[in-house]
């Protein structure tokens, strides 16, 4: 089975071929093949033997990605649907016309109103988190279709704060 896996901006495809027992496999990545044996220690811990070398890994499932810790380094790994170039995993798809915060934050300023025309890059809403502020901007030209939030509301990634309907600038 093939896994196209993205870390930061880099996608590499890993080929996974189970070998006899369920806890062994031949893994190929970047044209190199490794013999991998593994033990699931508990829900978050794995021990791997990669060509005989012991590796201790910790894993947690996040939204559409796994958080993996290896000896002090932490990686966020996403499985990609290569044909569509978007994140895959249980039907996750991007809805780019919907403006959402990158992290839990508080709405401190609303810069637009429903029905207002906006251009790409225009500021829409200002969020505050941990004593810093950031402005979410329009991803393309369009019209503000709906504002689903209000001042002083606490917002989370995934919340649809503002919906923009794409419209070409006339």
């Amino acid at each position: 089975m093939n896994y196209p896996l993205k870390i930061q901006d880099e996608v590499e495809t890993l080929e996974y071929l189970p070998v006899k027992e369920k806890d062994e496999a031949r893994v190929t990545i970047k044209n190199t093949t490794f013999q991998v044996a593994f033990q699931a220690i508990d829900a978050h811990q794995l021990r791997l033997l990669v060509d005989g070398r012991a590796v201790r890994a910790f894993v947690a499932q996040g939204p559409g990605e796994k958080h993996i810790a290896l000896n002090g380094r932490v990686y966020r790994v996403q499985e990609i649907d290569v044909a569509q170039g978007r994140r895959r995993a249980r039907g996750l798809e991007e809805a780019p016309g919907e403006v959402t915060p990158p992290m839990p934050a508080v709405v401190v300023r609303l810069l637009v109103a429903e029905g207002e025309a906006v251009v790409r890059g225009q500021g829409l809403v200002v969020l505050a988190a941990m004593k810093m502020e950031t402005t979410l901007k329009a991803p393309f030209d369009g019209v503000v279709k709906k504002i689903n939030t209000a001042l002083q509301t606490k917002v989370m990634p995934g919340d649809r704060l503002i919906e923009i309907e794409r419209r070409n600038a006339s």
């Binding site: 896994y3 896996l5 870390i7 880099e10 590499e12 996974y16 496999a25 893994v27 990545i29 991998v36 699931a40 508990d42 829900a43 978050h44 811990q45 794995l46 791997l48 590796v55 890994a57 910790f58 894993v59 947690a60 499932q61 996040g62 939204p63 796994k66 958080h67 993996i68 810790a69 290896l70 000896n71 002090g72 932490v74 790994v77 499985e79 249980r90 039907g91 996750l92 991007e94 809805a95 780019p96 403006v99 959402t100 915060p101 992290m103 839990p104 508080v106 505050a128 988190a129 941990m130 004593k131 810093m132 502020e133 402005t135 979410l136 901007k137 329009a138 991803p139 995934g158 649809r160």
Partner: protein, 495 residues
């Protein structure tokens, strides 16, 4: 001794204070905001009182609510921790008037040392060397220009009501001065409610060396040695160590004596820290006094065997210091790393959110003062410090390696932390040689990225995790539908 103490703080420091109180047989009262109803300080205290919404001004800074909690619970003393109301003279005064003991110095000492120019004057009169510069504030930028000409650029403009690295700006040349003056003034007004400014010489490549002092109410003042805090980012400390690689026994004695003189000059009681800058020629200058227990106090504790919170409580209860300066011994070498919920690859963007998995390091010489647990939702409203990792070993090199091992074993998943960055700092050649100055991070870690040698191994782990069902608990619910992504809409960050 008090029977019950209220801890007017949150997170790791509240937990740390509660621990000593518990060991001394004292009852503890925690306070919490909406964001902290399940925080560790609430879980560990004997009682907990609700203060209000998450925003500090509506909870942890609410003097009346905190005093009400003390009254209702019968707490006889309040420990303010650090930050929030710890250095607020009005709060110290309000405690006194409410008949509750404030565990810290007298309000008057907090007030005079809290104003940086008043403090400089105090020190100057006590013959403690101060950084060349203004001893009073001024509102006219031309005064600043004249002073700067006299002492020589580069200079640094500071807020008199500021401290802790906030409200300051380095000025490299006369052209930059007017703008720096204006923005410093408005920042100071916004952050501290007071726009008064003064100017000092900027000592490039200096070390930040501070001395821990303890003073009882009988006039006894001692110092517990120094802490070197030169590894900083934007004037915020990240790594601290003791002893300082730059101090000779003679310099230690001289600076220690100056720290004690500084504390006496201010009429100081309880625990405090006198901060100095040490230049490359071995001259030291008074920087400021922190009238509270500091974040980095554990490295002093692990090298002296003393519990500073215990001594704070005893001093506040009217007991004399149980030891003299000559009896104090320091052994070993200690480091502390502040662990922040920040993304070091994205200019240290704050990274609040839910901790999905946590494994704290352990072993000989390892101490972890943290305020988190797996499943805790790190709030957005507060400073992003998750905790402090402290190690102690026989030598500096042994302690350095111990810290690297401890950091590598510290697993926090679900939010971004500074752990990978800290590991790299400890491996740098200059760090190994002890050449730590306040511009260390700027010089060596501009645009740092996590070394990606392990990326393919992480991919292997992903595949194995998928196959073996070791993937933690998958998120349910809204993930099934189309999900908006923030990345096309994100602008820049600013303070």
């Amino acid at each position: 001794m008090f029977k019950k103490v209220l801890i007017a703080n949150r997170g790791e420091i509240a937990v740390r204070i509660i621990r000593t109180c518990r060991e001394m047989g004292l009852k503890t009262v925690a306070v919490y905001s909406d964001a902290d109803s399940r925080a560790l300080q609430v879980l560990e205290a004997d009682e907990a009182f609700y203060l209000g919404p998450a925003e500090p001004r509506q909870s942890y800074l609410q003097v009346e609510r905190i005093l009400d909690a003390a009254r209702e619970s019968g707490a006889e003393a309040i420990h303010p921790g650090y930050g929030f109301l710890a250095e607020n003279p009005a709060f110290a005064e309000a405690c006194r008037q409410a008949g509750v003991v404030f565990i810290g110095p007298p309000a008057q000492a907090i007030r005079s040392l809290g104003n940086k120019t008043v403090a400089r004057n105090l020190m100057s009169r006590a013959s403690v060397p101060v950084i060349p510069g203004m001893l009073t504030t001024a509102g006219d930028p031309r005064v600043f220009a004249r002073e700067a000409e006299q002492i020589g650029y580069p200079v640094i403009i500071k807020a008199a009501a500021g401290g802790g690295g906030k409200g300051m700006r380095v000025v490299a040349s006369p052209e930059e001065l007017p703008e720096a003056f204006q923005s410093c003034r408005s920042e100071a007004e916004q952050a501290f409610g007071d726009g008064a400014l003064y100017l000092e010489k900027h000592l490039v490549g200096s070390r930040h060396v501070e001395f821990q002092i303890l003073a009882d109410s009988f006039g006894q003042v001692i110092h517990l040695g120094e802490r070197e805090c030169s590894i900083q980012r934007r004037h915020q400390k990240i790594i601290e160590e003791t002893p300082s690689p730059a101090l000779t026994p003679e310099l230690r004695e001289t600076m220690g004596a100056a720290a004690v003189a500084a504390a006496r000059a201010a009429g100081y009681v309880n625990a405090g820290t006198v901060e100095f800058l040490l230049d490359q020629q071995g001259n030291f200058y008074f920087l400021e006094v922190n009238t509270r227990l500091q974040v980095e106090h554990p490295i002093t504790e692990v090298t002296t065997g003393l519990d500073l919170v215990r001594h704070q409580l005893e001093i506040a209860a009217g007991r004399p210091l149980p030891f003299r300066q000559e009896e104090l011994r320091k052994t070993g070498h200690a480091f502390e790393c502040r662990i922040y919920a920040e993304d070091p690859e994205s200019n240290f963007f704050p990274s609040p959110g839910r901790i999905l998995f946590l494994q704290e390091p352990s072993g000989p010489g390892i101490r972890n003062d943290s305020g988190i647990y797996a499943g805790f939702e790190v709030p957005v409203e507060y400073d992003p410090i998750l905790g402090k990792l402290i190690v102690c070993a026989e030598t500096r090199e042994a302690a350095r390696r111990r810290m690297i091992r401890a950091l590598e074993h510290y697993v926090i998943l679900g939010i971004k932390t500074t752990i990978p960055f800290l590991i790299d700092v400890f491996k740098t050649a200059e760090f190994i040689e002890g050449r730590t100055t306040t511009d260390f991070i700027d010089r060596h870690f501009e645009g740092w990225r996590q070394d990606d040698g392990g990326a393919d191994l992480a991919r292997m782990v992903y595949a194995v995790a998928e196959r073996s069902k070791t993937s933690g608990r998958p998120e349910a619910g809204p993930m099934a539908q189309g999900r908006p992504s923030p990345w096309k809409t994100l602008g820049e960050w600013r303070l």
